[in-house]
């Protein structure tokens, strides 16, 4: 009779996610964006122009030849946006990965050991959080100079403290649970407790946060390259295309509109997806 029992069990996070239309929709968009930038060379007739080779038809409006128009050096804007997406999304992913790699272990350590270790780590976190994040990124980018990894460092170094906070809060709430104390009692090493017993509980809130953060990271990358602190030209990047094209608005509206839409759609999709993850994994907190 087990099958007819009315289930008072909550549906699994996976099923909850599948029933969330906004979440699914955003996932489809993200897969679409990723597919576009991965298969960029096959999706445009002007892959060279995407990488920077100038053409001769400058500032042309959208047409059947150039579906999104051309830029100030006669390059197909669709190709520029495809290749620009590679840089923008790659940097955003690396930023969040860097923040995860630095922030999460520190948070677990701080939460598990407590005491002066916790104090030191959390005061460092406070120092970093005291700076407005974009200002810190601008400052670091200016000091480090242009380059893909410098840009990742510049943004990522201001990003990790959030993960430390989340991981620490999570560890604190599980720190006193019997299974942790039992493990300690049995002489399991600290490292093992932190990686085996505590890390799994840190995973899901950190996953939610990092998905939400991908959207903000894309915006921050765009802001930095808009300000001229991004990769050296002619490497395209969504923020940099807007920065170049802004002097042509509104007469050549396509120049800023399409890269702007690319940023908008991608950032929004990551945010919706993060929200949807949160309500699927942790429905009590709401969204």
């Amino acid at each position: 009779m087990a099958t007819s029992l009315p289930s008072n069990k909550k549906p699994s996070p996976y099923r909850r996610f599948l029933s969330d239309k906004a979440g699914l929709f955003s996932l489809v968009i993200i897969i679409g964006v990723l597919a576009c930038i991965i298969f960029a060379p096959w999706l445009t007739s002007y892959p060279d122009q995407g990488l920077g080779t100038p053409g001769l038809d400058r500032l042309m409006p959208p047409s059947s030849e150039y579906i999104l128009g051309t830029d100030r050096l006669g390059r197909d804007l669709w190709a520029r946006i495809l290749y620009g997406g590679r840089i923008s999304v790659l940097i955003a992913v690396l930023v969040v990965a860097l923040a995860l790699v630095i922030g999460t272990p520190l948070g677990i350590i701080a939460g598990y050991y407590g005491g002066w270790i916790d104090e030191i780590i959390m005061r460092i976190v406070d120092v970093f959080l005291a700076f407005p994040p974009l200002l810190l990124a601008i400052f670091l980018a200016a000091v480090l100079g242009p380059g893909l990894f410098n840009m990742v460092l510049a943004i990522g170094l201001g990003w990790w403290p959030w993960y430390t906070r989340i991981a620490r809060a999570q560890v604190l709430s599980y720190r006193q649970r019997p299974f942790v104390e039992a493990a300690e009692f049995m002489g399991v090493s600290d490292t093992k407790i932190m990686t085996r017993h505590l890390f799994p509980f840190v995973g899901s809130p950190v996953l939610i946060q990092s998905t939400l953060d991908l959207g903000s990271a894309i915006l921050t990358v765009a802001a930095l390259s808009f300000l001229g602190l991004g990769l050296p030209p002619p490497t395209p990047d969504w923020g940099q295309i807007i920065s170049e094209g802004r002097v042509y608005f509104p007469d050549r509206w396509w120049y800023v509109t399409f890269p702007g839409l690319a940023i908008f759609i991608t950032a929004l999709a990551f945010n919706l997806l993060g929200d949807s993850f949160r309500s699927s994994i942790d429905p009590d907190r709401g969204s």
Partner: protein, 516 residues
């Protein structure tokens, strides 16, 4: 409530009454410049500050362009006449009578002596113009005598846009700090009313000016420094600014189509080039430099990117200036030849990797560098673009040639109208690096430049011939890729009359010439 209403009514009444009244009583002119001013000291300033200085100070002599905007004549400024001695080693200037500085000090030969000596003493970037002046003597208040070590065209030098302004002797030992606090002491038609570095300078009419003001003269000039090209354009088109420089080339047509604004172009002695680092391999090799010069897409830059609004340069001296050689070598793009030259120079295919620096945020150099990169890629040379702030770019270039950039892109306009400035400041051998950012050292070239400089005052024809010879030698030796000569282009409000740009004083609006 009633009180508020009556208050509003009163305010409105005051506004209605006062608005037309102020508009009638003061004629205000607003100009928008690109970068901030750095130094308002008339003896040391070396950049766009002349926008202010040329209205507040006056030189002994002005350079006036001819009909075609080029061949100029020298006209009296604070000097009324001048005459050399037979050997050319002294020049005697008769000075204008009845002129006083804005601080009340009379203008006389003592002031001339003071101004020249102050420029020499402070050693600003343009102080070199007075190199041949040994002393200035003052036989009487309205006569100043320049004694020279070498014959030198002092009236032409005195018309310089830099380091030749007459300053009140009452300034004494005060340095740039005093000037940059918003003080001034000149004889010009305008006074500095307020100065916010990098933001705004306000000038007002000098009511004690010795000269005449035109009808509809400007009373107050507001000079704003706006780095963003989008803002500059909006200010001009929105009527917030009567005049603007640094407008986007691709937008000029639309700007000109605006019914309140027109785009005006004037002859200028300004050009744009990329200096090769000749101090280290591979660009110390002539064949590699030639290859790089053959690789540049000149036609694409001039006719496509710049829409034909500039003309391809021929050597470093801009066309229209004495010393420009019409038969100097001019490179055109020839990728096959470039590739062959690289092979001859022993450069293995795809082994060459170079960097170019240019001022960040400046659109023309970036466009030029991007098309250059694509052209070089097609002959297997990798070019890395490195946009930097001007200060950082200049510091890298002047630190150590061995570790400096390979190509340095920049614009140049003359201190005074002479090809000597282009040839000597940019390519004559230097012990300590100043503006020879090619680190070019060629004794034969130096000798030609020196020969030209030595005969400038005594034999203009032979001087020009030496400079032309130097230009030809330089063009063939390719220490730089010479890109284009440029006109100066400004957006001007249609109700401003008589605006004329003088190529000897780039960036200046002569406020006592225009009217509304």
């Amino acid at each position: 409530m009633k009180k508020t209403l009556s208050l509003i009514a009163a305010i409105v009444a005051v506004m209605l009454w006062s608005a037309p009244a102020t508009a009638q009583s003061k004629n205000i002119f607003t100009a928008t410049y690109t970068t901030g001013f750095i130094d308002l000291d008339p003896s040391t300033a070396a950049s766009s500050e002349i926008a202010v200085l040329a209205n507040v100070y006056e030189p002994l002599v002005w350079w006036q362009p001819g009909e075609d905007g080029a061949d100029g004549t020298l006209v009296p400024g604070l000097a009324t006449s001048w005459e050399p001695s037979e050997d050319g080693l002294t020049w005697t200037f008769q000075l204008r009578d009845g002129v006083t500085f804005s601080d009340g000090t009379p203008f006389n030969s003592e002031a001339v002596k003071f101004s020249i000596e102050r420029a020499q003493r402070l050693e600003g970037a343009s102080a070199w113009i007075w190199w041949a002046v040994e002393s200035v003597t003052t036989p009487d208040p309205l006569t100043a005598v320049f004694t020279l070590t070498d014959a030198s065209p002092i009236p032409l030098i005195a018309s310089s846009a830099y380091s030749a302004w007459m300053v009140s002797p009452a300034v004494g030992d005060k340095t740039g700090e005093w000037f940059n606090a918003g003080n001034a002491a000149g004889t010009g038609p305008f006074l500095v009313r307020s100065y916010k570095p990098g933001v705004q300078t306000i000038l007002e009419r000098n009511t004690n000016y010795w000269g005449e003001a035109p009808e509809g003269a400007i009373d107050i000039a507001v000079i704003d420094n706006v780095e963003d090209p989008v803002l500059r354009e909006q200010r001009l088109l929105g009527g917030k600014s009567d005049w603007s420089e640094g407008l986007e080339t691709d937008n000029l047509e639309q700007i000109d189509a605006n019914e309140n604004v027109s785009v005006e172009r004037f002859n200028a002695f300004q050009n744009f080039f990329g200096m090769y680092n000749t101090a280290k391999p591979p660009l110390d090799n002539l064949q590699v430099r030639q290859a790089l010069s053959y690789a540049f897409p000149y036609d694409q830059l001039v006719n496509n990117i710049m829409s034909g609004q500039v003309s391809q340069a021929r050597g470093v001296v801009p066309a229209g200036m004495p010393g420009h050689a019409e038969d100097a070598q001019q490179f055109t793009q020839d990728l096959a030849k470039a590739k062959a030259l690289l092979a001859e120079a022993g450069v293995a295919e795809n082994s060459l990797s170079l960097t170019v620096t240019y001022t960040a945020g400046s659109p023309e150099p970036q466009k030029a560098a991007e098309i250059y990169k694509a052209a070089l890629a097609s002959i297997g040379v990798e070019l890395t673009l490195q946009p930097m702030s001007w200060e950082a770019q200049y510091e890298l270039a002047t630190s150590n040639p061995e570790t400096a950039q390979d190509i340095f892109m920049m614009f140049w306009w003359p201190t005074y109208v002479t090809s000597l400035d282009f040839l000597a400041s940019l390519f004559r051998s230097e012990d300590s690096i100043n503006y020879n950012l090619s680190y070019y050292k060629n004794p034969a070239f130096d000798a030609l430049v020196d020969a030209g400089a030595a005969t400038m005052a005594t034999d203009a024809a032979s001087s020009a011939a030496s400079f032309e010879e130097a230009s030809r030698l330089l063009a063939a030796d390719a220490p730089a890729v010479f890109l284009y000569d440029q006109k100066s282009t400004y957006g001007v409000s249609n109700d401003i009359k008589n605006f004329v740009s003088n190529p000897a004083y780039s960036h200046v609006v002569f406020l006592n010439q225009i009217s509304r």
